[in-house]
Structures are given as C-alpha cells and as structure tokens.
Amino acid sequence: MMTTARKIVFAGSMGAGKTTSIAALSEIPPVTTEAVNHDRALFDKDTTTVALDYGEFTLDDGSRIQLIGTPGQLRFDFMWRVLANGALGVILLVDNSRPAPLDDVREYLRHFRDFAEGARLVIGVGRTESHPQPTVDAYADLLAGEALLLPVLSVDVRRRDDVLMMVHVLLSQLEACA
C-alpha cells in the first residue's frame, strides 16, 4: 500500500528548541542522533544534534506526518534545504539569547526562501522572557525589509500549547494561501 508521507520541518540554531518541539507532537519518542558538540565555544551544551531529529504522528486515514528537525550547527546548513524539500512548511525557531538572533533569521530565510515567499513559514522566538531584545517587532521589521509578511510569535516550546499554536498558525497560512 502506498502511504503519502508529508513532513513539517523544524529549523533553528543549536538549542533553539527543535527536539523539544518535535517531542511535544510526536507519538513515538523522537529519534535523535546526538554526538559530542564540537562547537562548545559557540554553544555551551554537551550534546547537539548532528544528524536529524525525527518524530511522527498518524492521521485517521493511516498516513503519517513526519516531523523533521534540521541540525542546528551552521556547518550542516547544506542539509537544511535537502531536509525541507517537499515539506508542508517550516517552523523556524529562534533563540533570542544568542548573540545576533536577527542574523540567524536572515541566514535561515536565505535557505528557506521558497517557504518564506510562499507563506509556509512560521517564526517562533524563544527565551524572550529573559531576553526581550530583539523584540518581535524587530523581526517583523527585518521581514518587511525583505518584502515578507510572516508570523513572528513569542513562544516557549517547553509549553506544548505553544508548539500547537505554531502548527495552527502554519496550517492557517497553508489554508489561506492557494
């Protein structure tokens, strides 16, 4: 039997919350390839994902939605586009405590330009409670400068409702954009 596999991609820098988001939605424990973080200077975390995160949930017709987390480290950026190929949409997670999170977003938008222009991309900004700058408005300004109108939401992916909200926003964009 042919089953149509569809996927939603979670992208974002190291520690932005991709694995946490996938775990919130997946009905199987997310399969994660973790390895020693060689970029300790960049991000102080023992392990970081070097391959991809994988989770899934099953729909009532038996088909599956795959949840793919792209590797956070920049040196894996060649994989981002490959992984996103054919995806329904991209949820781009931003860690607002990073040194230059606006630059991160600029970089990701470059890689996911098709998704951004097709309004199939949601930006979720995390850690805003401890790092209120840049503001959500600053992200919207950046988008406006690139002639893009995309949702920017302050989220905490440790709350499952916030992850669901990002999916609700993504689906609403897909439904509105013929």
Binding site: L25, L59, L149, M165, E175, A176, A178
Partner: protein, 297 residues
C-alpha cells in the same frame, strides 16, 4: 434557571478545560451552567492579565468578580459558580445590572466617539490622544490606566478584563499615577481595547504585520483570519464568509489589529474578488483537516 458562561482571553486548551468542567459539573451546581462561544452571557471567565500569574477571574453582572486559582479544582469551580448564581439571583431580584457580555459579542454598536461627558470605550479614549500627548491617564471607575506612548508601556491599577475593554464609561483622569497592579507592552492594551470595542468602518483591510499570538489574548479563529487578511485585502464580510466565522468575530479581530497597528485600511473600495482557492487541491485541504483533527486544532 439556566446560566451561561463564556471565556475571554484564555487559550484554546484552557477554554476546552472550562467547557469540559461545565459538562462534568452538570447537576452538581445549584443552577445548570452552559457554555456559550458568543452572545450575551451571565458570566465570563478571563485571565486578569498576562503578567498576573495564573489566577482566573470570573466576572458576572455589573461589577461582580470572583477569583479562581489554578490549577482548577472541581470543588472550587462549583463553589465559585454557586456564588455567582447567588449574586446573580440577588441582583436580578433587585432589578440590577444586565448580563455581562463577552468581548467577542458586543452586538450593539459601541458608544459614539464623542459623548457629551467625554466618556467612551477604552479604544475611543485611546484614539482621542492628541499628537502632543505622550501619556494618557484614563479611568473607568474600576481601573486606572496610564498609557505611555513614548516608552510603549502601560500600567494599570487593576487587572484589565474583557469587560473593562467593552465598557463605555472610560474617561480621562489626570489624578496622580495609579498604583501599579499590572503593567506591560502598550501593544497589549491597544489590542485589548480594539478587540473589546469590536467595531470597524466598512471597507477593505489588509494585515500589515502578524499579531504576536504568543503574547496577545486571542481566540483560535483570529489565527485563521490573520492568514486571510495577510494574503489579500478583504472586507470583514468576505473574511467572515471565507473563514466561516461570525462578522462580529472578524470585527473583534480587526478592531484589535487596527488599534495595535497590525492592519490598515485599504480604503472603502470593494474587496477584490477573492483569489481562487482551487489550486489548494482537495487532497491537500483534506490532509490539513486531518492534521487539525489529530492535534485537536
């Protein structure tokens, strides 16, 4: 007698929780309570403000207010509903206040922009700001609000509820600054005021910026409306039809967006004919529907 209850400013999950509590409690409260998504109601459960921790407030009648602490416990919910029943009964027999109204269901048009006594909705008072005014101090007799248009912040002497935003007895009050109970981004205040007023001029509107649904109280329909207004300039009526939501809901959404600067008018032109949605083939539409069902969205 049958009592009705709605929620304002709560997340989907919390509203669902309240709904399931109500069905769970049938027969356990002094009077039966039913949930209403819109329309006039006897009571409304709201979050006092994003910064005010986890307590919920249940408002009924004119000024009645009870608190519900999270996590919700069945016994506490029963006690609070019974207390509201008792107060509503007492108020009725004293021929006192009309039923509370949910933010979404302001059926009657709001008060005219300039009433003789300078009173109006919170939105009207905020809009009455002159260019040279950087701070506005307002009161509705229950809460005093200071809106600082330079700092982009507001503070309030009491948590602001949906009912505060829909009330039409706001006026300027230049007494010394209020004791702060709640404070936050001015955008939040503007949004609440606009959603509560739920009134827009006929015309065609377009989203300029997505509201931060992570921070602003909203109902799930608002997200679908934002996606529609982001895609093309649309009239409230056309958006209501496309999203299958009541027009007052669209007006609440647009009211908030216009006040907070998330949407703008594209003039009084007729809405452009909607772009055909045929390219979103039935297969994809069905798939999106199944994802929604699976995740409860």
């Amino acid at each position: 007698m049958q009592r009705t209850l709605t929620t304002a400013g709560l997340g989907d999950k919390e509203t669902l929780l309240i709904k399931s509590y109500l069905s769970l409690l049938s027969g356990k409260t002094r009077e039966p309570w039913a949930f209403r998504d819109s329309g006039p109601v006897d009571a409304c459960i709201a979050v006092p403000g994003l910064d005010a921790g986890k307590a919920l407030t249940i408002r009924y009648g004119g000024d009645g207010e009870l608190r519900l602490n999270a996590p919700l416990r069945v016994a506490a919910v029963i006690a609070v509903l019974d207390q509201a029943s008792a107060c509503l009964g007492a108020a009725k027999s004293a021929a006192a206040p009309a039923a509370a109204t949910a933010a979404a269901s302001v059926a009657a048009p709001a008060a005219p922009a300039t009433r003789g006594d300078g009173r109006g909705t919170l939105a009207e008072c905020l809009r009455s700001r002159r260019d040279d005014e950087t701070v506005l101090r307002l009161s509705d007799g229950r809460a005093r609000v200071e809106a600082d248009f330079v700092a982009g912040r507001y503070r309030s002497s009491a948590p602001l509820l949906a009912q505060h935003a829909t009330a039409a007895d706001w006026h300027r009050d230049d007494a010394p600054a209020p004791v702060t109970a709640v404070e936050g981004a001015l955008t939040w205040l503007m949004w609440m005021a606009g959603v509560g007023e739920a009134r827009v001029q006929p015309g065609v509107y377009r989203l300029r910026r997505w509201p931060d649904f992570g921070a602003l109280p909203h109902r799930p329909e608002f997200v679908r409306l934002a996606a529609l207004f982001a895609r093309q300039a649309t009239s409230p009526g056309a958006a209501a039809a496309a999203a299958a939501v009541p027009v007052p809901e669209v007006e609440a959404f647009l009211g908030g967006c216009l006040m907070a600067g998330y949407a703008g008018s594209e003039g009084a032109l007729a809405a452009p004919p909607p772009r055909p949605v045929a390219t979103l083939d039935d297969g994809v539409r069905g798939l999106l529907g199944r994802i929604r069902r699976r995740l409860g969205l």
